[in-house]
């Protein structure tokens, strides 16, 4: 139960970063996006542990891998073209 509560608390905790994502400049929004992605990896792991579903840990691992690739592609696109 503590793991689920921690996941919910983290989801509430990313609200300030969500405000930055919606309202700040483009590059500040990218920083907020990276922050939120990092937190979401933890949220998925916490929910998998909280509900005792080992298979759901794959989602956390997958998001951690995709965070690297997508983040780099996104940042490079912003640097050169957008």
């Amino acid at each position: 139960m503590a793991f689920v509560a921690a996941a919910i608390a983290m989801l509430v905790g990313i609200i300030p970063a969500g405000i930055v994502l919606c309202r700040a400049s483009l590059m500040a929004a990218v920083v907020a996006y990276e922050f939120i992605t990092s937190v979401m990896v933890m949220v998925l792991a916490l929910l998998a542990q909280g509900f005792q579903r080992s298979g759901l840990f794959e989602l956390a691992v997958l998001l951690a891998v995709l965070m690297f690739g997508s983040g780099l592609v996104f940042v490079r696109a912003l640097e050169r073209w957008l």
Binding site: M27, E34, F35, V39, Q49, R76, E79
Partner: protein
């Protein structure tokens, strides 16, 4: 409640505290460079605490291993991603991430 539950709760509480304070830091800091400093605690320290909490709760088990794999990926990706982000911010602001021969960025030279 046994001791390992208490330890896991404390670790999770610390992780949540780090995420919330970092999130507020991302909100209140003025520019993207400053905001980026608050991504690292949430991307490295908090996941480490979460992995530790899972380890304390479950012991050496499949869940612990998968959490550690995610932690390793985040640990490897974080510095590269931060560097690429800072570089992109600088390129968008000054036109080039390098300084010119006079020690000033391209945009600074054009402003002068």
């Amino acid at each position: 409640m046994i001791a390992r539950d208490i330890v896991a709760d404390v670790l999770l509480g610390l992780a949540v505290l780090i995420v919330i304070t970092s999130s507020v830091g991302v909100l209140v800091m003025r520019d993207p460079y400053q905001k980026l400093h608050f991504v690292t605690p949430a991307a490295l320290v908090a996941p480490f605490l979460v992995a530790l909490a899972v380890l304390v709760q479950m012991g050496l088990y499949e869940n612990t291993g998968e959490t550690c794999v995610a932690l390793v990926f985040m640990g490897v990706a974080g510095p590269f991603l931060s560097h690429a982000t800072v570089r992109a911010i600088r390129v968008r602001q000054t036109g080039d991430w390098r300084l010119g021969q006079d020690g000033r960025a391209v945009a600074e030279r054009e402003d002068a």
